[in-house]
């Protein structure tokens, strides 16, 4: 089993023990063990989330950041070799960028936590209740506030796509929320709402991640 296959399996796993192939890979691969450890940290912090979105302790950020750096998933930007999305973040002080990462990670954590609790099929994702939806929405709003504007991206195609697609996802979130309010029993609509939140978190993470990597 390759790391990509293991990650794909991990996405679909819902708490059952690892099958032999995955367990063997996990034994042999330090990177995937670190990935599991990262998820544990994220799930732990997600479980601590209440109705409000508290600031995570500094140690969580330090731990996450160290893990991501060691995984090669993020790296310090090289000033002399700034990347095509570097302008997204260059104007931001590092603490703000760190805040964006944590917020996005916590948004992802909320989603992962909900998915872990509810499974991944539409009928279970559709069981998200109003409080959970409000918590996810608030976390995403906070993440967006802390994520740099896409306006400064270098290539006009990139700028245009990021702006257009962020608006698109926001529009679908609004549409799905309206549908869920009108038809609370519509499980497919709830599944789509859940998916739209995930897309928003992914999009914010992409903007912050690419900017921080300096490419």
């Amino acid at each position: 089993m390759q790391c990509t296959e293991f990650e794909s399996y991990l996405e679909q796993r819902s708490g059952e023990p690892f099958p032999p192939a995955a367990a063997a890979h996990l034994d042999a691969c330090a990177n995937c063990r670190n990935l599991i450890a990262d998820f544990d940290v994220i799930e732990t912090s997600a479980a601590a989330l209440g109705a409000e979105t508290p600031e995570p302790p500094e140690r969580i950020w330090v731990s996450l950041r160290a893990a991501l750096l060691s995984e090669g998933l993020i790296r310090e930007p090289e000033p002399e070799h700034a990347g095509f999305l570097a302008l997204l973040t260059n104007w931001l002080p590092r603490p703000a960028l760190a805040g964006a990462y944590v917020a996005i990670l916590l948004a992802a954590a909320v989603l992962i936590g909900l998915r872990g609790n509810l499974g991944t099929s539409y009928n279970t994702a559709g069981m998200l209740n109003g409080l959970e939806i409000a918590a996810v929405k608030e976390t995403l709003r906070s993440a967006e506030t802390n994520t740099p504007s896409v306006v400064a991206a270098r290539h006009p195609d990139v700028t245009s796509i990021l702006q257009k697609d962020m608006a698109l996802v926001d529009n679908f979130i609004a549409m799905c929320e309206k549908q869920v309010r009108e038809e609370p029993q519509n499980t497919l609509a709830r599944e789509y709402l859940f998916g739209a939140y995930q897309q928003k978190a992914d999009l914010l993470a992409t903007i912050a991640d690419r900017g921080a990597r300096g490419d």
Partner: protein, 291 residues
């Protein structure tokens, strides 16, 4: 798997001829910079490419050697490539801020052994991969991805780029926000395709494999032939479903899970060997016979 290997062999012959053409000197503007590097490898190499804007062409040949040809016209970027064991890393470094699109552009022609793993990340432009067998990941913002006759675990993540996948085999995972996705003659075991507002087209034999195609708006079109064999589950919240396949209840008597408060078509066509799930929020699903 044997059929894949036969295909690989057949494609390999054609790949060799194409690769020879690839090595011919490129016609470049007088001001262009051209860098060519060769890396001997053994086993299955991993090629990692990171670019901001431009075209990336990856093709295969029979030699155990990776050849990277990078071109750029601007002095404000530079092309770098290096080898660490069997890993080849290719990077475009941008020098300075506030660069124009032309100053960011770098184009690559990369020739790899047939069995190669690829990791390609780019902002905009085009990525084309032909006849490469190995796991691949593509991460783009606006760049379009074209895969032809590739085999492996194929993972494509793009914001606004499109994907055209022709005779792809193995497993495929695609996520996009506004990109269109087209699968022609796929020979996949598993495919999960999601785009928010883009269209999805599936045009190929439906006799094996499991396909999950989903969007929020736009069109999902599946073309089938009378000899195909599939289980279908198509559902929508506010959209429409046009189904021209004559479905019958599952011959195995399996009960299907239908989401509440949604429109759905569920049933089996012929023996139901392939499995296809289609879902749209307010778009259109079309299941039509192939012309």
């Amino acid at each position: 798997m044997n059929s894949i290997r036969k295909l690989a062999s057949h494609w390999g012959c054609r790949a060799a001829a194409l690769s020879a053409a690839l090595l011919l000197p490129l016609a470049l503007p007088a001001s262009a910079h051209r860098i060519e590097k060769r890396f001997p490898v053994d086993g299955r190499p991993v090629v990692i490419v990171r670019n901001a804007h431009g075209r990336i062409d990856v093709k295969s040949w029979k030699r155990m050697e990776v050849v990277v040809v990078g071109t750029h016209t601007s002095e404000k970027n530079e092309v770098e490539s290096k080898q660490i064991d069997n890993r080849i890393e290719v990077n475009t470094h941008l020098k300075g801020q506030n660069l124009t699109p032309a100053e960011m552009e770098a184009n690559y022609e990369i020739t790899v052994p047939e069995e190669t793993e690829l990791q390609i990340q780019t902002g905009s432009g085009t990525v084309i991969v032909e006849r490469v067998y190995g796991d691949m990941t593509f991460d783009t913002v606006a760049a379009d991805v074209q895969l032809q006759e590739v085999y492996g675990f194929l993972m494509v993540k793009t914001i606004g780029g499109s994907l055209i996948c022709t005779r792809c085999a193995g497993r495929l995972s695609v996520t996009s926000i506004s990109g269109n996705i087209q699968l022609f003659q796929p020979q996949l075991d598993f495919a999960r395709v999601q785009t928010t507002s883009g269209n999805i087209l599936f045009d190929g034999e439906l006799r094996r494999g499991s396909y999950n195609l989903k969007n929020y708006s736009g069109i999902i079109e599946v073309r089938f032939s009378e000899t195909d064999s599939f289980d279908l589950n198509a559902s929508t919240v506010l959209g429409s479903i046009e189904n021209l396949a004559t479905l019958k209840p599952d011959p195995r008597g399996a009960r299907r899970q239908v989401p509440r408060a949604s429109n759905a078509f569920i049933g089996t066509f012929n023996e139901g060997h392939a499995r296809i799930e289609l879902s749209t929020y307010n778009g259109k699903i079309r299941i039509r016979p192939r012309d």
